[in-house]
Amino acid sequence: MPEIKVQNGNMAAATGAALCRPDVIAAYPITPQTPVVEYLTQFKADGEIESTMSEVESELSAMSVVTGASLAGSRTFTATASQGLALMYEPYFRASTLRLPIVMAVVNREMISPQTLWGGPQDALCVRDAGWIQIYVEDNQEILDTIILAFRLAEDKGVLLPVNVCYDGFYLSHMSERVEVPDQASVDAFLPHYVPEHIKLDPIRPMSVDPLTNGYLLTEYRLRHTQGHQRALKLIDELDAEFANQFGRSYGGLVEEYCNTDSDAVLVTMGSMTGVAREAVDLARARGRKIGLLKLRAVRPFPGARVVKAIAGRKAFGVVDRSVSFGWGTGITFQEIRSAMYGEGSNIPAVPMIGGLGGEDVTIEHMMLAIDCIYKAVESGLSNETVWLNKEIDIM
C-alpha cells in the first residue's frame, strides 16, 4: 500500500532513490542538496536500504565513484547542485559517453559569481549538451516519481543513458508537502533488476573500456548516442503512460500542456514556477485571455515535436526562463523552443523573459506581467526583446 507522507523535495528525492534499490550511492554535500546525502546515510544507518554508500571527498569523486560502480555493473545514484555539478563536469560528460545509466538528482542552484546559494537551473542547463537526459520537475511528488521513472528510462536497452532529475533548490528542496510514497513491491514491479550487457569491467569477460579511438569510430559512437536520445524521446512519453497506469499519476511525459487546447497564445515555463503560472493562467482566462501553458519537462532529449504541436497555430508565445544564455541575452530554453519552432516554418512572435534568477521569487504578479507581454506580441505581431521580469515589477 502506498503511504501518504509529508516530505520536502530532498526527502522525496532520497525516498525515490531508496525505492529503486541502488547498489552503490556516492554523494558530496552542497547547499541545497545536502539533506539528500544526510537522508540516504540515515536510511543506511537504520538498515532501510542495502546500498553501499561512499562518503566521498568531493563531487568529482562522487561522480567518479558512481561511474566506476556503474562500469562494474551496478545501479547507482548520486545528487548534487551548482558548483558541485561544475566540479563533476569531467566524469559527467564521460558517464554519458560510456552510456552508463546513472541517475543523479540536481537540486538546481545558481552558478557563482556572485556568491549565491539560491535556486536556478543555470547549473544543469549549462551542461545540457553533455549527453545526459535532463528532466525538470514541478513539485515533490513529481521528484519522487520521476526518479523511479528515470532508472527505468536510463536502463532501457535502447536508451542506456544517464538521467538528471532536476528540481529547484529551496523552492522544492526545502518545501514540505504531501507526497504519496509507493510501496516497494510496486516499484520493484515497475523497475526490473539492472543487468548490463553493453559494457562491464569484469574479469570473466575482459574488455578494455575507452581504448584510444579514431575519429571515424568516435563519430559512430556519437551517432549511437543520439539514437539513444531519440529512443528516450519516445520512451519518456510511453513510460509516463505506464507509470500512470500503475501508480495513478501522470506528468505528460516530455511536456505538459495546461489550458492549451483552445489557446491563442502560449506561456512556457519549467520547474517549480509552473504552479504559480497555472494560477496566473486561470486568472488571465477569467479576465478573458485565452492563454495556454506549456510546461517543459525534458530538456534533453529536446521534445521539439511536442513543443511545436503545443505552440503551432497560436498568435504568440513567451518563455519564462530562470537562466541566462550569455551572448544571446535571453533565457536558455527560449533559444531551444524558438529553434524547435523554426522547423515549423512559421514565424510566430516570440517573447523571451527572464525571472527568478538567484532564487528570486517568481510570483503571480510576474506571471501576469509575462502574460501581458505575450499579449503585446499578439497585438503587434512582433517578437520582443528579453523582458527581465523581476526588474520590471520593481519599476512598476
Binding site: V6, E177, D361, T363
Partner: protein
C-alpha cells in the same frame, strides 16, 4: 486556501512549526505546503516560514505575500520585523507576547483578531528552554480553528515527544483572543 506566515528566531523551531501544520492537514486528508525563507540557518537570526493550507492540491510553490494569519514566535520581532507586511483584510495575528508588549506597538488595521500568549514564560516553566513553537501552535489552533485540536496535538507529540503535549495544551488554553471589532486593545 489559507496562507500563513511565521516569524521567529533561529533555534525556536519556526520552520518546524510550519511543517507541523502541514503534517496535521495532510493527516486529515487535506493539503498543505510550508517552506522556510531561505537564508543561512543560524541560531539567533530572524527566520520566516510560509505555510499554505487547503482542501485541494496547492499549486504555488513560493513565498506567501498576503497572509491570512501571521504567527510571531518572539515578542522582539514585533519591533524588529515588519510582521504586518502584506496582511490580508480580516487577518488573524497570533503572537508570543504579554499584553504590555502589544500595547507598545501599532497593530495593523487589517488585523481582525489578536491572540496572545506568554509562550516564552510557559516554555521556560515547562521545558526550561525558550522554545515556544508548540505553545504557539496551541494558540494558533484556538485562535484560527484551521487545525483540528486533537489531531495537531498528536502530531506534536509524535515529533517532539510527550513533554510538548502539555505545552501545546497550555498554549491552547491560556491564549487570550481579542476580536478587534469588539474593543480596543
Amino acid at each position: 486556501m489559507k496562507e500563513i506566515r511565521l516569524h521567529g528566531i533561529g533555534g525556536m523551531g519556526t520552520v518546524k512549526a510550519g511543517e507541523i501544520l502541514v503534517h496535521e492537514t495532510v493527516k486529515e486528508g487535506k493539503y498543505g505546503n510550508s517552506m522556510p525563507f531561505f537564508g543561512f540557518e543560524r541560531q539567533g537570526a530572524p527566520v520566516t516560514s510560509f505555510v499554505r493550507l487547503d482542501d485541494k492540491p496547492i499549486r504555488p510553490k513560493n513565498k506567501v505575500y498576503q497572509p491570512d494569519c501571521v504567527i510571531v514566535l518572539d515578542p522582539s520581532l514585533l519591533v524588529s520585523a515588519n510582521v504586518f507586511e502584506g496582511l490580508n483584510d480580516n487577518s488573524i495575528f497570533v503572537v508570543n507576547s504579554r499584553i504590555e508588549n502589544l500595547e507598545a506597538i501599532k497593530i495593523s488595521d487589517r488585523v481582525a483578531r489578536i491572540a496572545y500568549v506568554d509562550a516564552t514564560g510557559i516554555a521556560m516553566e515547562l521545558l526550561n528552554r525558550a522554545i515556544p513553537n508548540t505553545i504557539m501552535l496551541g494558540a494558533f489552533a484556538r485562535a484560527t480553528g484551521w487545525a483540528e485540536r486533537k489531531s495537531l496535538e498528536e502530531v506534536i507529540v509524535k515529533f517532539f515527544g510527550e513533554k510538548n503535549r502539555e505545552a501545546f495544551r497550555r498554549g491552547y488554553d491560556e491564549v487570550k483572543v481579542i476580536e478587534l471589532g469588539e474593543g480596543q486593545l
